[in-house]
């Protein structure tokens, strides 16, 4: 297991992280106009010497590889630079926005698992019946309809017909737990719908596969009730592949939060990134994209670890 992880870390994860850092660093240097112009904004009225002084003070007169290495050294130490808007450290801004995004992602995962796992089991047990057909239609819709469309329809429904939940804003968990959950209910549903649909489909086919195996026939033959056979044997084994999917998909949810936070006006990292783009706050754009991409890679590593722990066969390879 350890050697499997080490090999993956060296051959795949590290090169990927390296590539991400180059992409994020390089992107900012592709911006038309010099970085000094961006720093100074439009009102700047400075001489050429002052310009060069500013460039030198930021180390912008060094060759790009040198600048990259210095930037990387800073990043590794947690220094992502300062926001051009507020002058605050970018890492601090990200950390300040982290709770909302993290809570939204976790809640979305939780909501979709609570719905999808029982739904998948039901669909498998009543295969071909009305329940199965209805659930599969929902699954198809959940896989096809993008999260921002689900979010928009939810906002439309709640604000015009059924005003029981807030459609914008975020109440921090530390202030009011009920208010917090209310403010995240609709965003979590929009974000989790895709995960719910894919988990339900996987769960259905995994349970069906287990139900067809011989050991379950033996279990039935020795007189166990259908409920015990399904819940204790089939479901337990069917959960193995599902766990991996959830791990990988939770990484994708992080990307989805960008748009869902925008719809419901939740002050998370995604919104920070979007605001930074419209305000041309490049250090924040750089910091947030780097942060989310690295988090995404780490989620995948975590999924690998969990998969390795649950399924011993993977460790041998």
């Amino acid at each position: 297991m350890v050697s499997f992880l080490a090999r993956r870390l060296i051959t795949v994860v590290l090169p990927t992280l390296f590539g991400i850092s180059i992409l994020v660093f390089g992107a900012i240097h592709l911006i038309p106009g010099s970085f000094v112009d961006v720093m100074l904004g439009l009102s700047a009225d400075v001489s050429v010497e002052q310009r060069e002084q500013i460039a030198a003070s930021y180390g912008l007169d060094d060759p790009l590889p040198v600048q990259y290495l210095r930037w990387l050294g800073d990043v590794v130490q947690g220094n992502l630079g300062e926001s051009l808007r507020t002058g605050e450290p970018v890492l601090g801004e990200i950390v300040g926005r982290l709770p909302a995004t993290l809570e939204l992602t976790l809640l979305a995962t939780l909501v979709s698992l609570i719905i999808a796992i029982p739904a998948g089991i039901l669909a498998a047990v009543y295969r071909g019946g009305v329940v199965d057909v209805v659930l599969r239609v929902f699954g198809l819709l959940g896989l096809s309809i993008p999260n921002f469309l689900i979010g928009t329809f939810l906002v439309l429904l709640v604000s015009t017909r059924w005003p029981i939940l807030p459609t914008t804003g975020y109440v921090p968990l530390t202030e009011d737990i009920v208010g917090n959950l209310k403010s995240l209910a609709l965003p979590a549903i929009s974000l989790g719908a895709l995960l719910a649909a894919s988990v339900m489909r996987m769960m259905r086919s995994a349970v069906l596969e287990e139900l067809g195996k011989e050991y379950l026939m033996v279990a039935r033959a020795k007189g166990l009730s259908g409920r015990v056979v399904v819940m204790r044997h089939a479901v337990r084994n069917a959960l193995v592949p599902v766990i991996t999917v959830v791990g990988i998909q939770t990484g994708y949810l992080l990307g989805g939060t960008v748009i869902v936070e925008q719809i419901f006006a939740i002050p998370g990292i995604g919104r920070l990134a979007l605001d930074a783009v419209s305000q041309r706050d490049y250090p924040v754009v750089q910091g947030t994209t780097l942060f989310i991409a690295v988090a995404f890679v780490m989620m995948n590593v975590l999924a690998d670890v969990v998969y390795g722990l649950v399924d011993p066969r993977i460790r041998v390879r």
Partner: protein, 290 residues
């Protein structure tokens, strides 16, 4: 005689297609209708999709047009028709670019192996490890909002998928006897790639094209929704959802109908793509028919 026979076989094949892939055939029909409506938008649209008419603001579907008007007094149906046109054009064009680029990289990667394979696949991993919206944000922050940025984003997001699909197909095909025979006979690398390997890679590649288009349509709509894509007043299904939000309570139709149009478009492309996969993927086909 031969003609009649072939006609009868064709009729039987058509009936079998409808019977085995009913939803796919229906989805294909709806998709053709949507594409025709988008192509004929200038003829079908009852109003101008861009000109603002402040006096006609927020008219309900009964009062003005089939689907009412939006916050700027523009006919919603007309904007949906033109917006669908843009969705399909951007989606189709960028998927074609991504398919060409990804297929080329996948062919090189899978056939050359070694360091070239490693280098290409690591670059693909990097692109793959960016959530698509994030990659788009990075591009828009450099290049500004607009269709060029959207297409660039979609190409960068989808190229790795094509590269992976094609590479794994190449890995399988290049072990096959006739490819080894061609190598032994001294055929050039380009001849082997184009004549022997590419035809075998086409099926999974085409399946991926069908599946990718719906993804591309969604990315275009999402970016336009966020204001990173279509620049106002250009009609886009995504931007219609966000620009009419201010008047959601008075004019829900200005959001509802574009949303339904987008959902229907994505759903039919997905269903159609699934059917294409069933028909072209030899493994699935051998399991159901033959």
């Amino acid at each position: 005689m031969g003609e009649i026979r072939r006609g009868r076989n064709r009729g039987r094949a058509a009936r079998a297609l409808v019977r085995h892939h009913f939803t796919g055939v229906v989805a294909g029909g709806v998709l053709v209708a949507i594409i025709l409506a988008a192509l004929l938008a200038p003829l079908l649209a009852p109003g101008d999709p861009i000109d603002m008419a402040p006096l006609d603001r927020l008219q309900s579907p009964g009062e003005a047009g089939w689907l009412g008007t939006d916050v700027f007094g523009r006919d919603v149906l007309s904007r949906i028709l033109y917006g669908t046109r843009i969705s399909l054009a951007i989606g189709g064009a960028s998927v074609i670019f991504a398919a060409l680029l990804g297929t080329t990289l996948g062919l090189i990667s899978g056939y050359a192996r070694g360091w070239r394979d490693y280098a290409i696949m690591r670059v693909m991993d990097v692109l793959f490890s960016f959530p698509s919206i994030l990659l788009a944000i990075l591009i828009v922050s450099i290049n500004g909002a607009g269709f060029v940025s959207i297409m660039l984003a979609i190409v960068l997001i989808q190229t790795p998928i094509f590269a992976r699909v094609v590479r794994s197909a190449v890995l399988v095909v290049s072990e096959v006897d006739y490819v080894q025979a061609a190598e032994a006979l001294g055929a050039s690398t380009s001849r082997i790639l184009v004549r022997h390997i590419l035809p075998n890679v086409m099926a999974p590649m085409l399946v991926q094209v069908a599946l990718s288009i719906s993804g591309a349509v969604v990315i275009e709509a999402a970016l336009s929704y966020l204001g990173l894509g279509a620049v106002p007043p250009t009609p886009s299904l995504g931007s219609m959802l966000s620009e009419n939000r201010v008047a959601m309570e008075q004019a829900p139709w200005a959001i509802f109908f574009p949303g339904v149009a987008l959902g229907l478009l994505v759903l039919t492309i997905n269903l159609f793509g699934d059917t294409v996969r069933d028909l072209l993927d030899p493994r699935v086909r051998s399991a159901t028919s033959v």
